[in-house]
């Protein structure tokens, strides 16, 4: 019982810390690219609006990136502290993927971030732009390796089990480019771009509601609409491809997503309902018969496995997977709608002229984050009880650490993250509420006039 509690707590702690962490990369991956585009446009067109946008959003980026870094350091140690058995089993195969993430992405991002934030006047415009581009590339390389490792855990490939039970890699190419990886990487990268576009668009709309002529916000809103009008429909296609991969590699996850209780041909498509794992049925379900199989891309007479094909103790928490999936898809459809509406507004009198559109954009601003977290719940809860699918069960992966220590650290994480998140959100929202300035302050790194006594400065921290 002691061990079971420690397991539940360790899972809670991992879920909490990784859900907190993923918020920041899913924003900074897109924002870094947005900043690179703004700086590139500033250097080529010399239009002040792009310079101001860069210097405004880089401040938001700095806060978000810092929070992403510190919550990410936690992840690199938590595998050892809380999931030591997993570490030892998986390291021969996916250890190098984590090492490559540090070597190819983290150092690149961390070093050139310094230039990006503090080097505006220290290096030439070309070098500064290069630094921004390198940070943007770094965020994508980081996504590459971590999604590769996660995808390998979802559908392991390129490995063999040695007689003593340890794993060994037989084909590195097959490990890195495992079957679910390419589509999942595309899905996550597009999700990050969508999340950023919604946030940038929503923040700009907020300023335009107050001042519809604000030039930087008008430009940023148009750029954001351009982004999500194209990416949201594309995401539907990639998301569907991702679903087909789940169907082929993790049929149990698909059964939970769609609440297929029984194995049969011609599955009905469940729209909403309350899945009940104990009763093995969905209460109050609204379902459309006849379209389940075509939506999964198979003919109506193909038999799709239901949950009854697996022992009940192997079922994930069905209602959570089912609803997280519906939240994600519902928000995705809303994003497509917002994109079409925005494009139509741009073609007509301009989005700033339509207050209802601006208000909807503000409402949708945080929805990318919600969709990302919902999507990861589908991916991670849906593959339970396995941590390495079909190879290692989550309950066998946990560290020999008592419940007392795990609960103490979990509580500490909750308190510290609540403080850090509240403060970070406050500072970001304050910046967004102010909006870009017409002459957004340039980063300064000029030398102080010699002889200016530091101690003479006013003591603003005095109570």
């Amino acid at each position: 019982m002691e061990n079971l509690d420690a397991l539940v707590l360790a899972r809670l702690q991992f879920a909490f810390t990784i859900a907190f962490h993923i918020i920041f990369p899913s924003f900074t991956i897109g924002l870094a690219s947005f900043l690179a585009v703004c700086e590139g446009l500033w250097l080529t067109t010399r239009r002040e609006v792009f310079r101001n946008l860069y210097l405004f959003w880089v401040k938001v980026f700095a806060i978000s990136f810092g929070m992403g870094v510190v919550s990410g350091v936690v992840m690199s140690y938590q595998l050892g502290t809380n999931w030591s058995v997993f570490s030892q089993v998986s390291a021969p195969v996916i250890g190098p993927l984590f090492a490559f993430e540090v070597l190819t992405a983290f150092f690149l991002e961390a070093s050139f971030l310094g230039i990006m934030l503090f080097g505006w006047k220290k290096v030439g415009p070309g070098l500064h732009f290069t630094s921004t581009v390198l940070v943007a590339i770094g965020t994508l390389i980081s996504a590459f390796w971590i999604i590769s490792a996660n995808s390998w855990m979802q559908a392991p490939a390129g490995y063999a089990v040695l007689p003593d039970g340890t794993l060994t890699a037989t084909d590195w190419w097959a490990v890195v480019f495992n079957p679910t990886f390419p589509v999942r990487l595309a899905h996550m990268a597009l999700a990050a771009f969508l999340t950023t576009a919604l946030a940038v668009g929503g923040a700009s709309a907020w300023v335009l509601l107050r001042d519809r002529d604000q030039p930087e916000s008008r430009m940023a809103l148009r750029m954001a609409i351009g982004m999500f009008a194209i990416v949201a429909p594309l995401q539907l296609v990639v998301g569907h491809a991702s679903g087909e991969i789940v169907r082929d590699h993790q049929p149990l996850k698909l059964a939970a997503i769609e609440a297929y209780w029984e194995t049969r041909a011609d599955q009905p498509q469940s729209l909403v309902g309350i899945p009940d794992r104990d009763a093995a049925k969905t209460h109050g379900e609204i379902a459309i018969p006849g379209i389940g199989n075509p939506i999964q891309g198979v003919s109506r007479d193909t038999v799709l496995k239901g949950l009854d094909a697996w022992p009940r103790e192997d079922w994930p928490v069905v209602w959570l997977v089912y609803w997280a999936f519906r939240v994600m898809v519902g928000l995705g459809l809303a994003m497509i709608g917002l994109g079409l509406w925005g494009a139509w507004c741009c073609w007509r009198k301009g989005p700033e002229a339509n207050r209802l559109f601006l208000m909807s954009s503000v409402f949708m601003a945080p929805m990318g984050f919600v969709a990302v977290i919902a999507g990861w719940i589908v991916a991670e809860v849906g593959r339970q009880p396995w941590v390495i699918y079909g190879v290692l069960r989550t309950k066998d992966a946990v560290s020999p650490v008592g419940a007392g220590q795990v609960s103490a650290s979990l509580l500490a994480f909750m308190v510290i993250y609540a403080i850090v998140f509240s403060a970070g959100a406050l500072y970001i929202l304050r910046l967004l509420n102010r909006g870009p300035a017409p002459h957004e302050e340039a980063p300064t790194q000029e030398d102080r006039a010699p002889g200016t006594p530091l101690a003479a400065a006013p003591d603003e921290e005095a109570p």
Partner: protein
């Protein structure tokens, strides 16, 4: 090729670089409460702001590298040093976000994040000292897994190491500030360097003696038996403590002469000698005193695969890291933030 040995060297290098680099920026945080004014604190923070993230990445490489290259060691250390590691991570979060938050907070917010930066830097340092002390004194292992208790790391020895590390980081921080500042702040930093340097000399001596007593393997390695040294064992290792003494001398000389860079270089020497001195005590163990680095090493396949990457990437990383340090060279101004 002896892949486990190469990787042991690489991980040791990553940890050493981490201690030296994040050491000085954590040290600046430890010294924060002693600054004369908020403007002085701003200048201190600005002197490390472009670097801290890169410095901390060596810690991620240490953790990620240990996972990838010595998974058994990673899987033992995590549970064995659970609480101090968690304390370190939480403290690093608080002081890491403080770099940005301090710029955005208004009066009370700024005061809060100033305190979080100072407190987080000190707590992270003390936690690292407890990790180090808990590691050196030995970890109970059976069948390749940790079998000790949750507070095994908490001993007078680990507390002593922890205090020593805090003094050491403060010394690195103070000498860094001497190098990167001028005027009143530099004069203050010289005073901090004298004080922390004195503490380091005393605590380093205490830790060195305590380490000889904490485990018979270490005493044997240094040829220490029954209160006397066996010179045949001690002499080959004697350059290590001599290097530390030389480092302390360089610091004292640099402080007296008013040198800008000298004290920092001396502090790096002291840390280097301390690092090698401790490593000499437990090598070839990677988990003192039951698991050697060969037992804990990953299979040759992944080690070779990663080594190809390291051979290409590490020189590039060192190159651009040095370039970033060079870009932001020179004395820092109090108002050098980007706001």
């Amino acid at each position: 090729m002896d892949l486990p040995l190469i990787w042991a060297g690489l991980i040791a290098t990553a940890v050493l670089l981490y201690v030296l680099l994040d050491g000085f920026d954590l040290g600046v945080g430890i010294l924060f409460p002693f600054a004369r004014s908020p403007a002085e604190r701003d200048a201190m923070m600005n002197s490390i702001a472009p670097y801290w993230d890169g410095n901390e990445t060596w810690l991620v490489l240490g953790g990620g590298g240990l996972f990838a290259a010595f998974p058994m060691a990673y899987a033992i250390l995590g549970p064995a040093l659970y609480l101090p590691l968690m304390l370190m991570l939480l403290a690093l979060i608080l002081r890491g976000v403080a770099f940005e938050f301090r710029l955005h907070g208004r009066r009370r917010g700024k005061a809060l994040w100033t305190a979080a930066f100072a407190g987080g830097s000190l707590a992270a340092t003390l936690a690292q000292g407890l990790v180090l002390g808990g590691f050196i004194q030995g970890i109970k292992v059976e069948d390749g897994a940790f079998v000790g208790g949750p507070f095994d790391w908490l001993t007078p020895y680990s507390l002593l190491v922890s205090a020593g590390l805090a003094a050491g980081y403060a010394l690195l921080g103070a000498t860094w500030v001497i190098w990167r500042s001028e005027g009143q702040l530099q004069a203050d930093a010289r005073r901090w360097a004298w004080i922390s340097g004195g503490l380091v000399a005393a605590l380093l001596a205490a830790v060195s003696l305590a380490t000889l007593l904490v485990h018979p393997r270490i005493a044997q390695r240094w040829g220490y038996e029954g209160g006397a040294f066996d010179l045949a064992a001690f002499l080959p290792l004697s350059p290590i403590p001599l290097l530390g003494l030389a480092g302390l001398a360089v610091i004292a000389w640099g402080l007296r002469k008013g040198s800008h860079k000298g004290p920092f270089l001396g502090a790096l020497l002291v840390f280097f000698s301390g690092f090698v001195g401790l490593a000499a005590g437990f090598f070839p163990n990677i988990i003192p005193y039951d698991v050697t680095f060969r037992q804990a090493a990953n299979q040759d396949g992944p080690l070779a695969f990663m080594l190809v990457g390291v051979a290409i990437l590490l020189p590039v990383i060192l190159g651009y890291t040095a370039w970033v340090y060079w870009i932001f060279r020179g004395k820092v101004a109090a108002d050098a933030g980007y706001h």
